[in-house]
């Protein structure tokens, strides 16, 4: 457990000292959502109708944006070698890194989302469901995204590559995230959507570290 916490602490410390990363992700998130009214027109009714979907798409894109940083630096400066060599199971270290990544990039998205709800004229009853669906969904984005980050280590054009590999795999999260918010807004029970999101999170939590660890090991060969 101690190595897990040590790695978590180190990554959070690095994220805090570099600082700009989290800021950039949130700025991109807000910017993308701002583009939509400019593209489809400022009509309040339309924006309220598509607002939750846009917030989710923007969250998806901006979490992909920061993904390539997850293992890249450790890979380049040789830290990854030592992490793999440490006595701790690599799967667990992967989880620590992903958790740190989610805290530094996913959490700010969740915090910023009600603001975007206001901008997009989502009815105030929906803020709770937007936050809850993002709280369940963004960890899945980070987890599945980390597979892409590990697979594209050392590849040409890593950043774009990750999105191409991972976005198709994240479609279920998008579908259930948005439908959770929409059924909530329509005053229908959205419990099943949240349960499915939660189930996907648990499955990802259980399986993804194995895939990432395998990918990291082969990246070091």
């Amino acid at each position: 457990m101690a190595p897990f916490l040590a790695l978590l602490k180190r990554d959070l410390k690095l994220a805090a000292r570099h600082g700009l990363d989290s800021f950039m992700v949130v700025a991109f998130f807000v910017l993308v959502v701002t583009l939509f009214p400019l593209a489809v027109g400022p009509e309040q009714a339309i924006l309220g109708r598509i607002g939750s979907g846009m917030i989710w798409v923007a969250a998806l894109l901006s979490s992909m944006l920061s993904m390539d940083r997850l293992f890249q630096q450790d890979y380049e400066d040789g830290s990854l070698d030592l992490l793999v060599l440490s006595p701790m199971a690599l799967e667990l270290l992967v989880l620590a890194k992903t958790l740190a990544h989610w805290i530094s990039t996913g959490l700010p998205l969740i915090i910023a989302s009600p603001l975007l709800g206001v901008l997009m004229n989502v009815s105030s009853a929906g803020y709770g469901t937007v936050i809850l669906s993002l709280a369940l969904g963004t960890p899945i984005l980070s987890l599945v995204g980390s597979i892409g980050a590990a697979l594209s280590l050392g590849a040409r054009r890593g950043g774009v590559l990750i999105s191409l590999l991972i976005l198709p795999l994240l479609i279920p999260v998008l579908v259930f995230g948005v439908s959770a918010v929409e059924t909530g807004l329509a005053d229908l029970p959205s419990r099943s959507e949240f349960l499915i999101l939660g189930a996907m999170l648990l499955v990802a939590l259980a399986l993804v570290p194995y895939a990432v660890a395998a990918a990291l090991r082969q990246a070091l060969e």
């Binding site: 180190r10 830290s79 070698d81 060599l85 440490s86 194995y210 060969e221």
Partner: protein, 254 residues
């Protein structure tokens, strides 16, 4: 009781290296650390007797780097790998650390076919130093990640050996290349392991630090440790040397 614990320990290592069932492992690890304690853990895994490599072959991007390479090291040995660029020094070191698999041939670490991570310290080309962290933070991170909690004595001692004690609180981004290398080498003393795998450890070191490195290596081998290092600098006449250039030849001409 002792033999039971030894068996437990071996099993635990197997769990870690071979079948990373990480959820149950979470629980095990905690219990084990509480009951047995770190120091015991360290003394038990603190030795390694021999490594045998038999007819190893390495292929990198469709090219045979070396083949038919056999060697063996025993406790107390310092093995120097020499040879020109591309002769496979780094590849052999990475095979020894378990990153790479030999494409043919056999390796045994104390009779086991997989290396045990606790027993290896690897220093690669890169320094694995984070610029945003201070020298001390960098070093204590590697201490923690290897399962030991705050052995401050070893930390201070390592910093002193490599002349870093005054820089301890400086962010590592301000270190010169040589100082960063020294910080990397200090890891050897902080996290003890019987097998040191060093890939050109003396890169960008000055003479004084080279001396410190040399005496660290000597001390390690006298204590029964093993060192395998790739080097460019000429080695002493009585040193154990593996000349890598002799293993690339056969296939190339044949």
């Amino acid at each position: 009781m002792r033999s039971f614990l030894r068996w437990w320990e071996m099993n635990q290592i197997n769990i870690k290296t071979k079948a990373p069932l990480y959820w149950p492992f979470f629980v095990f690890e905690k219990k084990f650390r509480k009951n047995v304690g770190i120091s015991f853990n360290r003394t038990l895994i603190g030795c390694m007797n021999n490594i045998f490599g038999t007819r190893l072959q390495c292929i990198r991007s469709n090219r045979i780097v070396f083949e038919d390479l056999s060697f063996h090291i025993e406790s107390g040995d310092v093995l120097h790998l020499t040879g020109p660029n591309g002769s496979g020094k780094s590849s052999l070191l990475r095979i020894l650390a378990g990153f790479l698999r030999p494409s043919a041939g056999k390796l045994s670490w104390d009779g086991a076919s997989e290396p045990i991570h606790e027993k290896i310290q690897y220093i690669g080309h890169q320094n694995a130093v984070k610029g945003a962290l201070s020298v001390l933070e960098n070093l204590s991170f590697w201490l923690q990640i290897n399962g030991d909690r705050g052995d401050q004595k070893a930390l201070a001692c390592a910093l002193q050996t490599f002349g870093l004690e005054k820089l301890a609180n400086l962010p590592a981004q301000f270190l010169s290349a040589g100082q960063a290398r020294r910080l990397t080498l200090a890891r050897l003393l902080v996290v003890p392991a019987p097998l040191w795998i060093l890939d050109e450890p003396a890169t960008s070191l000055d003479t004084a630090s080279e001396g410190a490195l040399q005496s660290a290596i000597n001390g390690h081998s006298e204590a029964g440790g093993m060192v395998v290092m790739a080097t460019h600098t000429p080695v002493e006449a009585d040193a154990k040397v593996l000349n890598m250039s002799t293993f690339g030849k056969t296939r190339a001409t044949g």
